[in-house]
Amino acid sequence: MLTLLFDGVAYGMLLFILAVGLCVTMGLMNFINLAHGAFAMLGGYLTVALMQRYGVPFLMCLPLAFLASAVVGALLERTLYRSMYKKPHLDQVLFSIGLAFMAVASADYLMGSQQQIMQLPDWLRGRTELFADTPFVLGMGHYRLFIIAVCAALTLGLQYVLSATRFGSRLRASVDDPRAASGLGINVNVVFAATFAVGSGLAGLGGALGAEVLGLDPTFPLKFMVYFLIVVAVGGTTSITGPLLAALLLGIADVAGKYYIPKLGAFIVYTLMIVILIWRPQGLFVRLGGKS
């Protein structure tokens, strides 16, 4: 019971790190980016390739995955994405789904279509059990514990950057109203490019962290696109607490649903999403007053 909750939280934290970049880009530029998962896949494959072929230690791979995805994200933002912001949503959907298709086929071509296996370092394997003799037994996989720790640290860091730094206040201003923000002398394009890069980098980091938990094969971007979008749609795009809570809810619901009612599988998650979206079309946790 508690173990499930623990796994759900780990899963949810992972989803949050993967999706947070998407939330900000969607909120900032009203851009529907279905190719976000491709950055996560890039981070995952890079980690696997570095560890297997060059023997780079796991901890070293994580920042590298972040950096690589961020650089690729920044490059794509400058070259391709920028011209899409003003286009209708249909074009954005087509464009980004085309990118996702290309990423899937490229990964297939470069790495093969099989599931990649991640060799975790020894100190991350294994499992600790708390309250072993009580009904509330809590089994914690060390790797999941590690994921929660990393993601919690990142979340706190993000929250700090958003709420207490100058860049954060510029970003919040741009999300609330890009026109007024640029009128006040904030260079919205630069803010956005930086955010896009960091968001892509976080997705890459999440992909590297999640390769072992979520599984990594070329269809990753399409398989998890739905989950990222659920986080964004349910959490709303105006804050990062909304997506965080939505991701935790999704993670716990998914893990618990698959454990208790395996026959229904992902059915529960999708139904939950539709019900929530019919009930609160703008997302569960929406701050009033921003542009919507």
Partner: protein, 324 residues
């Protein structure tokens, strides 16, 4: 020209359209060896036209239109297997089932932003996919529903391996439903739909009941997609989980993007172009064809459809952002 005259003028049948349909019906006879692909094209064209009713005439971006295709396909296949193998009855059942599903789903797309609608439509298709997958006793699960044997069409024409009868059958259904859809979008209802698409608030202000119009057209489109699904199941004798997949919904959007939205022939033109392109690319690289489809999508959107199909404008200055 008065408003009435100009509307009537737009609704009139052009000679070119008649030529097109005559050619379409002659095709399976002339190139009999390609009858199977003509059949496929007719089916996806019907599917694309149905999505165009939603996307092009109301502006709702749906990533889950395959839900109706699949529901129609499974209903028709199950009906043929367990109740009655008559194709026309099965078609009616498939359409009715999808129409009912469309009525239910139309309530889910009324509120929220484009993202919300995208998610809700996508979620519907995924739920149906899960259901069809887990409910294996009825649907055959991941193996697909096999052993659907159809009776002869109208009691006379057996479906043959060459696919000529299938092609004519699908073309006829496509033609009939196309004429109905054409009638619909040129009727006052269609005009109000375009008003809703262009400016929902103003449409509401001049007294158009937005919700009910959207519900009606969504239901009609769902029924048409169901007919496409039923045709697919009947002419292949098979229904698999793949009919609900995201790829289906994405492909049909691509067809509309190629052919142009808000124009019923756009769906047909897009379906023809897409199928032929798919055939060529899949022959060259069977495993990596999604890459080229993806590249094509990206280029299509970046360059703009209007410019892409007019090569002589490529060197000129770019005009008009977001033309399609």
């Amino acid at each position: 020209m008065t408003a009435q005259k100009s509307l009537l003028h737009a609704a009139r049948w052009q000679p070119l359209e008649l030529v097109f349909w005559v050619m379409a019906f002659v095709m399976p006879y002339v190139v009999g060896q390609h009858a199977l692909i003509i059949n496929e094209i007719a089916i996806v064209a019907l599917f694309a036209v149905s999505l165009d009713l939603i996307l092009g005439y109301t502006g709702i971006v749906s990533l889950g239109h395959a839900a109706f295709l699949g529901f129609g396909a499974y209903s028709a296949a199950l009906f043929a297997k367990h109740v009655n193998p008559d194709p026309l009855l099965g078609l009616a059942v498939g359409m009715a089932a999808s129409t009912v599903l469309g009525v239910v789903c139309s309530f889910t797309i009324m509120r929220g932003s484009d993202l919300t609608r995208l998610m809700v439509t996508l979620g519907t298709a995924l739920i149906l996919l899960e259901l069809a997958n887990k409910w294996g006793d009825l649907t055959g699960g991941a193996d697909g529903l096999q052993g659907v044997i159809m009776g002869p069409l109208l009691g006379q024409f057996e479906f043959d391996l060459m696919g000529q009868i299938s092609a004519w059958y699908s073309l006829s259904v496509l033609f009939i439903l196309f004429v109905l859809a054409r009638r619909l979008v040129h009727a006052p209802l269609g005009a109000t739909l375009k008003a809703v698409r262009d400016n929902r608030l103003r449409a509401m202000a001049i007294g158009i009941s937005v919700t009910s119009r959207l519900a009606v057209v969504y239901t009609v489109a769902a029924g048409m997609a169901g007919a496409a699904g039923a045709l697919m199941a009947q002419t292949t004798g098979f229904a698999s989980l793949d009919v609900f997949a995201l790829d289906r919904s994405a492909d049909v959007m691509l067809m509309l993007a190629i052919g142009g939205v808000g124009w019923l022939y756009g769906g047909i033109a897009g379906a023809v172009a897409f199928k032929l392109m798919y055939d060529v690319i899949a022959n060259i690289t069977p495993q990596y064809w999604t890459f080229w489809i993806g590249l094509f999508l990206v280029v299509l959107v970046l360059v703009g459809r209007e410019r892409l199909i007019r090569p002589w404008t490529w060197l000129g200055p770019s005009r008009g952002e977001g033309a399609s």
